[in-house]
Symmetry: C3
Subunit: 181 residues, 3 copies
Amino acid sequence: MAKKKAVAKKKSAVKAVKNTAFGQCGITTTIPNKYYLVAGHDEGMTPLNAFDNALVDAGIGNTNLMKMSSILPPNCTQIKPVKLPLGALIPVAYASKVSTIVGEVISAGVAIAIPQDPKLNGLIMEYSGAGHKEEIEKIVRSMAEEGMRKRGYKLKEIKSIAAQHKVDHTGAAYAAVVLWW
Amino acid sequence: MAKKKAVAKKKSAVKAVKNTAFGQCGITTTIPNKYYLVAGHDEGMTPLNAFDNALVDAGIGNTNLMKMSSILPPNCTQIKPVKLPLGALIPVAYASKVSTIVGEVISAGVAIAIPQDPKLNGLIMEYSGAGHKEEIEKIVRSMAEEGMRKRGYKLKEIKSIAAQHKVDHTGAAYAAVVLWW
Amino acid sequence: MAKKKAVAKKKSAVKAVKNTAFGQCGITTTIPNKYYLVAGHDEGMTPLNAFDNALVDAGIGNTNLMKMSSILPPNCTQIKPVKLPLGALIPVAYASKVSTIVGEVISAGVAIAIPQDPKLNGLIMEYSGAGHKEEIEKIVRSMAEEGMRKRGYKLKEIKSIAAQHKVDHTGAAYAAVVLWW
């Protein structure tokens, strides 16, 4: 009985920790276990404003994105885009393209290769450039596939997303994999 | 009485957590709630040394800066520059410019647009280039203003900082918003 | 006796915290206290695949690297390369060079200048370009030395690593300091 109480107390301490340490998580101390794909595009007053507006269009413009190279952790589950806490530190892998060439079509895409073995990691690839999103998405998917081959991982599937933009004066296209907890 | 003790115990557990987990915080698990602006400039033996020396001049040269895109979290309070722990992981939004064109004047600036509604996030913009710091600072302030307009946020105020450098052989200008806890 | 128990309880709470918060650490809340050097090189189907393959060759290709500017924290101990958790968020300082010029020799190197005073931080420098690794490594070591001089730190030693690659069609060279806990 005393033992039970001690266990209960320990559990409550752990819970307190979770509430404290993981309450409004930005970058947490553990490996991300959720992800989703987003893409967006827009014009802007300057190249950085166009980039910022594309982030807003993608639904992640009010967070602090921290770019990382580009692994999907094992047991990371796809979720629908969530409302991230404003200003939170968010690990992302992304591709972007900004152009000031009037009339140019630009695209940015990301692809995730997911292995058959759930204990292994997936691989995220990014690609952007002038061109239509179908081409860019096809290229980035083949890049992710190549990375799996190189690792000797058997491929289960590839997920991808891309955004396309026709430049009016200063435009940006953006695509990202958001990791989250 | 027993209840009081339990509460006290829980509080003490939480305090222990804080001391453990947030004792020497670099990147913590929560959203930053403090910020300050810094700027610096210097010459260097190589472009990266010039950049490093500008960081030292700005007072943040002995930390591990992690660049992020560029939001001021809600309820983030401006503080005076603090002595950051050596080697800590620090989220920053920054602009920098390095030049090896002898005699060129370069500048780097950052601006924060702060919304009227304290529940909303602010926006940080970065800009750098050849030119005097008054011009660069004016541009970056207008970029931050534009970002607020785009979000439909009512603007309370804009804070900004910029550094200027006249290149001797290899020079750098640097400006940053440091987020902290 | 009651006091002893209370202390034991507090310790156990702290231990619970550690297990929770630091269980599978990626970026933790504390300053990194371990480091090691790695380097790698390879060809790839695209520039990003070449980069990815160089990361795999360096032994850190299945993690999420977060680039930072470039300090060795005080009391950070060199360890042998460890098997990092798949998909973990890893702070690194790195140099890389990708080239599509057939036959070109490219190299990337990093150097750490370690101060005599163990309470002070070390400095990491990165350099890459066309050229053999001996040249690149010599340059990056002199850059790290210069950074120590600039800080007024007395130098204890410099550690460095570099990778070299002769481009077949699309090649990459990569060198990094991995920080860890």
